[in-house]
Structures are given as structure tokens and as C-alpha cells.
């Protein structure tokens, strides 16, 4: 009993001691923070973090985004600022598609001294790490994280892609334009991307005269959809909207065919991946960020040619790119995200800065405008790329040979 009393007393003392320090320390911390604030470039190497999942649920898409960034880095390896040539070095970290790991992954980037970050595939990890980047005052450039919450209330998060509300609405608009009025929606429980997109689709579709005839949900890592699809079939839906991960896409498409469903299948940007192209997938429609075959966008043409060459140079890269040299939209976005930061660095040339601080890059980013692979890019007050066009693509018989998607049309939404 004596011992426990002693122990308790001790703990209390320690707690009080630490609490006391806590108050003092906090003040010290903030003043210190204001004085230094952010990471500063040391020497002639500028470090840019690549914050992507390369393992876990989103490991596949994350890796493709990394490839885009690596290619961009190979293409733009140095930058001249005020007479000095800086090497740009990528510091890659795997956030494992896991939020707890994402925070420490982000921190490991910060402590490596990166002055800007690209990433991440999957909005949930970006949201989790957003605070870390903001606290460290290091700007992050999201490539394909489409959730509105990523940049909301965060001055240090930007992104080069469009947002879920836009994408969901665009697809609803497309479905209505095509004359469909009965839609089924399939989404994943616990997945913000899938559920968010499905919700916006439902809102927009119903608001404009359509009816949602089936609203189904599946669990993470579920691979049998026969029961759900039977319900969808019996609901008489003319169109099925099922935003999901690539893994789910490759499972659900053959099952839709096997169930004899003839309704139009639609999805979001994640489906633009060579892995889903199969005879059963012919006719699938999806929205995405850019068109690989658009001859009018010279930046895109250059990128596509160069990137294919880059992929074919190493068999491992082809493996990571799901076995083909088809350019995924996320690779293009990864490239654009890197280029956005690169543009911001170039904008620092000619300023009177003695050192390059991550805060300077942040400020420069806000004013960056350039023609990217995925269209003209500039940032609004939230840090979101101003984009009003989605590219609708489909899979045709021809896609099976070329393992690429066929462009259908561009789709915009008037009232957004």
C-alpha cells in the first residue's frame, strides 16, 4: 500500500512538473516557430517530398502517381534561382494508405528538410497529413486527392485536380444528357472517395429530374457483388454509377457482365487505369483529368511521348504501371503537381530572397499559372486548381488492342 501511495505521489509530481513545463514550452515553441517557420533550402539541393501510398489499399494508383513525379523530376532536375543552379532531389515516403502511418510519413519528410511536397493519392491520407504540413509551413501539392476537405481550412494544401462535387455532378449531368433517368449507385462503406462521389451524383441526378432506383453499399475488400448486382438488375436502372478503387473495378465489371446487366456503367477518375480494360468492360464510361490523345494540347503530347519512353526504359516501371505503357491520369497529375512546384521555384528567380524558405514557395504557388498536361492550371483562394472541364472517356473494342481509353467528349457543368 505504501508503495502504491509513493507511486501515485510520484506520478502526480511528474505530471505537475510536465504540465508546468508544458505551458512554458508551448509559448517557447510558438515564438520559436514564428522566428524560423518552415523549412529552408540548405546548400544547392532543393528537396521535394513525394508523399504517396505505394503499399496498402491504394498502393497501385499511388505508385503510378510516383512514376509521374519521378519522370517530371528527370525532365526538370535543376532550377536556376538568382544565379545559383539548384539540384532538385525527390524524397519519397510511403504513407501505406493508412492515416496513422501518414502523419509520421509526413513528418519524416519534414525532418528530411523538404520545402514542398507532392501527394497524395487517396484524400483520406492527405487530410490526415494536412495539419502536419500546415504546422511545418511546408506547402503540399495534391495530385489526385479530389475530396473538398483536403484544401479546406488549410493554407498550405493545393491541388492540381478537380474536386469530388464537380466530378459527381459532371457524371450526373452526362447521364442526364444521354437521356438516362433511372440510376443505380454502388458505393463503398467507409471510403470517403466512393461515398462522397456517389452522394454528389445522387444530389445532382435527383435535382435535375432523374430517379435513383437502387442505392447499394459494399465493404472494403469485398469481392463478390452478385447479390448487389441482382438487386440493381431488378431495379430497372438504365445507368449504374459505381465510383470505386481500381481493385473493386476489376472485380465488379466482369460480374456486371456475368449477371447479364446491359445498363450503362459509369465511374470516376480512379477507373482510368489499364488494369480495368477487358472485353467485359467495353462500354464503360468514366470521367478523368486529361486526354492522352488530344493533339491540340502540345504539353500533353510531349508528356505522353516522353513518359512512355520513360516507362519502357525499365521493366520494373512497366510492372508498377500495371503491365503496360498506357499513361494513367494520375501519372499526368503527378507530373503537373511537380511542375506546379517547379513553376513556383522559377518564380522565385529575380526576387530579393537570400534563402529559399518553404513559405516563399507557398506564396509563389498561389500565383502560379501554367499550361499543364491536364489543362491550364491556376489556383483559387482555397488552393484548388480552377478547372471546369472533365474529360469523358470510354472503353471500346479498339481499347482492347491499344489498352487505352477512347475520348468521348468534354463535359462541363453550367451551374457549379
Amino acid at each position: 500500500m505504501k508503495k502504491t501511495a509513493l507511486l501515485l505521489a510520484l506520478l502526480l509530481t511528474v505530471s505537475v512538473f510536465m504540465a508546468g513545463c508544458g505551458g512554458g514550452g508551448e509559448e517557447g515553441g510558438t515564438t520559436e516557430g514564428e522566428a524560423t517557420g518552415g523549412n529552408t533550402v540548405e546548400g544547392t539541393t532543393i528537396k521535394i517530398g513525394v508523399f504517396e501510398p505505394t503499399t496498402g489499399e491504394n498502393g497501385g494508383g499511388g505508385m503510378q502517381e510516383v512514376l509521374g513525379v519521378r519522370y517530371a523530376n528527370e525532365k526538370f532536375p535543376t532550377v536556376d534561382i538568382n544565379g545559383t543552379t539548384y539540384d532538385i532531389e525527390l524524397v519519397e515516403v510511403d504513407n501505406q494508405s493508412d492515416k496513422a502511418a501518414a502523419v509520421t510519413a509526413a513528418q519524416s519528410l519534414i525532418s528530411e528538410g523538404v520545402v514542398a511536397v507532392v501527394g497524395s493519392y487517396g484524400s483520406a491520407v492527405a487530410i490526415a497529413a494536412g495539419e502536419t504540413f500546415a504546422e511545418a509551413q511546408v506547402p503540399a501539392m495534391g495530385a489526385s486527392c479530389t475530396n473538398p476537405q483536403v484544401t479546406l481550412d488549410n493554407d498550405y494544401y493545393f491541388r492540381v485536380c478537380f474536386l469530388d462535387p464537380f466530378q459527381g455532378t459532371v457524371m450526373a449531368q452526362y447521364a442526364l444528357d444521354e437521356g438516362y433517368t433511372q440510376a443505380a449507385v454502388i458505393s463503398q462503406n467507409g471510403d470517403d472517395y466512393s461515398t462522397g462521389l456517389a452522394s454528389y451524383f445522387k444530389q445532382a441526378f435527383e435535382a435535375n429530374g432523374g430517379t435513383i432506383v437502387a442505392d447499394e453499399t459494399y465493404q472494403t475488400n469485398e469481392s463478390d457483388f452478385n447479390a448487389i448486382l441482382t438487386s440493381v438488375k431488378s431495379s430497372g436502372a438504365e445507368v449504374i454509377f459505381c465510383p470505386s478503387s481500381i481493385a473493386t473495378a476489376t472485380l465488379i465489371i466482369p460480374q456486371i457482365a456475368a449477371n447479364g446487366i446491359t445498363a450503362q456503367v459509369m465511374a470516376g477518375d480512379t477507373w482510368e487505369n489499364a488494369a480495368i480494360i477487358s472485353p467485359e468492360a467495353v462500354g464503360v464510361v468514366l470521367s478523368t483529368f486529361f486526354d492522352e490523345n488530344d493533339e491540340t494540347n502540345t504539353v500533353a503530347v510531349d508528356f505522353v511521348n516522353g513518359f512512355k519512353e520513360y516507362l519502357n526504359a525499365d521493366p520494373q516501371r512497366i510492372t508498377w504501371n500495371s503491365g503496360s505503357d498506357t499513361v494513367a491520369a494520375v501519372s499526368a497529375l503527378g507530373y503537373d503537381a511537380y511542375v506546379a512546384i517547379y513553376q513556383a521555384l522559377q518564380a522565385l528567380d529575380g526576387t530579393d530572397l537570400e534563402t529559399i524558405n518553404s513559405n516563399d514557395i507557398r506564396d509563389a504557388l498561389a500565383g502560379v499559372t501554367f499550361d499543364g498536361v491536364t489543362g491550364a492550371i491556376s489556383f483559387d483562394e482555397n488552393g484548388d486548381a480552377v478547372k471546369d472541364t472533365a474529360y469523358i472517356k470510354t472503353i471500346t473494342e479498339e481499347s482492347l488492342q491499344t489498352s487505352s481509353f477512347q475520348f468521348v467528349k468534354t463535359q462541363t457543368v453550367a451551374d457549379l
Binding site: T55, E57, N221, N226, A227, S231, S234, S278
Partner: protein
């Protein structure tokens, strides 16, 4: 609900249920003998799919031969796992060996991610199994249709094996009393290896039937089916083969009809509530322990 749609649901439920049953047998047999919940079983199922891809896609081996190679490789994997990860712990507390199983499951998932990347890989299509057939208004693939038949056939074979062969008798003896069986001269290690081999064989066959109509393999592809099959095994009374089969069908059908009723969001919740409810009423599952002979 029209009759054809009802039949379509039944078919979906029976087909998924029979796969659950096939894999659940693997859980239940190992448990019967070692009192071990083999958490890695779902991942062995996933690895079997990768073996098939490796043989058919990467090395262009015809499917008949690939299938045999895949089954052999899966059995080898299972037996090696037992020798390396479970055998040294046989005398350790039950918890240690269960934790070792969790460790193996981890290792297989991470290894698959490392070797094959996290992107889903297309499962090779086996022409015979892939045809779509129409039964009246109901459409399905041959694989879906023959799965229950194969399952039932294997279960009957397995029951005969356990009842009438020497190794089957040895298995029953070991599951009744480990120590006494050893004293009677039964080669415990062989019996355990055979048990793992049978479990893995069924997982390999199950994997082929499962992935043919759901042709996408990724490192976590085995985790949810594994969990469900495991629930099926417990539901039927872990250790009992007929129990595992019944459990598989009940879980498959009930989750299908929950989805049919429009509660797809809660189908898994229902599965787990059903499990807990059954355990409340019959703490060892439907056919637990004494009611039926175990492996």
C-alpha cells in the same frame, strides 16, 4: 420479386456460400487437430491465385497443367508454413501459436505487395469455366454454376477419407486426444501435414472457382473472404466438417438475402450479429464438439 430474380439471388447465395464452405473446411480441419485458428488461411487462398497468374500469364502454361502446379505450390506453401511457423510452437500456449498465425498472415500480405505490387492483377481466364450460361431467365458463368457441385463432391470425398482410410482414422484420433494418439504410435507430424495439405488443396480449388468469375487479385484479396469463411466455420461449429459446409451456405445465403432486401450496407453487420447470436445459444457453434465427430 419475380421468380427468376429470386432464383438469381439463390444462385448467387449458393455459389458464394459453397466457396465459403470450401475454405471454411480448411479452417475447421486445422482447428480440429491443432486447436489453432489459422489466420493465414485466407492469405494462402490469395497466394494460390498469384501462383495461377504466375503459371498461366507469366509462363504461358496451359490451364490444365497450371492448375496442377498451382495446387501443388499451394499445398507446399501450407505445409511449409506449418513446419516453420506452427510446429515449433506446438507446446507453447495456445495464444502464441494464434499470434504466429497472425504474423504469417501479415508476412504473406506484405510479401505479395512487395513481389506483385498492390495493383490488382487480372486472373487468367479459364475458357471452360468462363462461359456464361442461361438457365431460363437466370444467367451465370459455368464456374458459378459448378462451384456448389464441386464443393459437395469434395465434402463427400473428404468425409469418406476421414471415415474409412487409415490416415483419416489417425486424424480423428489426433483430434480426440493429441497425446494418447502419439502414444498409440500415430505419426503426429504426418497427420498434421496431411491436414494442412487437404486444407490448402481445398483453398487452391476454391481460389480457382472464386477468382474465375471475380477475376482480380490483389494482396488483400484474401482477407475479407478469409474472415467470412472463418465466421462460417465457427458458426457451424469449428472442428466439424459438415458444420463448416452448413455454415458456409448459411452465411452465403443470408448475406445475399439481406442485400436483396435492400440492406447491403448492413449485410456484414448482420453476419456478425448472427455469429454472436449463435454462439450465445450454442457456445460451440451449431455442430460443435460432441454433436458431430470432428476431423
Amino acid at each position: 420479386m419475380t421468380t427468376s430474380i429470386f432464383l438469381q439471388y439463390c444462385l448467387a447465395g449458393i455459389s458464394i456460400g459453397s466457396i465459403y464452405a470450401l475454405i471454411a473446411i480448411g479452417y475447421t480441419m486445422v482447428y480440429g487437430i491443432l486447436r489453432l485458428i489459422n489466420f493465414a488461411h485466407g492469405d494462402i487462398f490469395m497466394m494460390a491465385a498469384y501462383f495461377m497468374i504466375f503459371a498461366m500469364v507469366d509462363h504461358m502454361i496451359p490451364w490444365q497443367i497450371s492448375m496442377v502446379l498451382m495446387i501443388l505450390a499451394t499445398i507446399a506453401l501450407g505445409v511449409v508454413i506449418e513446419k516453420v511457423a506452427y510446429k515449433p510452437l506446438r507446446t507453447a500456449p495456445r495464444m502464441s501459436i494464434m499470434i504466429s498465425a497472425i504474423g504469417v498472415s501479415y508476412l504473406l500480405q506484405n510479401l505479395a505487395t512487395y513481389l506483385f505490387s498492390a495493383l490488382p492483377k487480372q486472373y487468367p481466364s479459364i475458357p471452360v469455366l468462363n462461359q456464361t450460361i442461361w438457365l431460363g431467365d437466370v444467367s451465370t458463368s459455368i464456374a458459378t454454376f459448378i462451384t456448389p457441385i464441386i464443393t459437395i463432391a469434395f465434402v463427400i470425398l473428404l468425409m469418406l477419407l476421414i471415415r474409412y482410410t487409415k490416415v483419416g482414422m489417425a486424424m480423428r484420433a489426433v483430434s480426440k486426444d493429441f497425446e494418447t494418439a502419439r502414444l498409440m504410435g500415430i505419426k503426429i507430424n504426418t497427420v498434421i501435414s496431411v491436414t494442412f495439405a487437404i486444407g490448402c488443396f481445398l483453398a487452391a480449388v476454391g481460389s480457382m472457382l472464386y477468382f474465375t468469375p471475380r477475376p482480380s487479385v490483389f494482396p488483400l484479396a484474401g482477407s475479407l473472404p478469409g474472415l467470412k469463411c472463418f465466421v462460417a466455420a465457427v458458426f457451424g461449429g469449428i472442428g466439424s466438417i459438415p458444420g463448416a459446409v452448413l455454415g458456409g451456405f448459411v452465411i452465403g445465403l443470408s448475406e445475399t438475402f439481406i442485400k436483396a432486401a435492400g440492406y447491403s450496407e448492413f449485410s456484414d453487420v448482420f453476419t456478425f450479429i448472427l455469429l454472436i447470436a449463435v454462439l450465445m445459444v450454442k457456445p460451440t457453434g451449431l455442430f460443435g464438439e460432441k454433436l458431430m465427430e470432428k476431423v
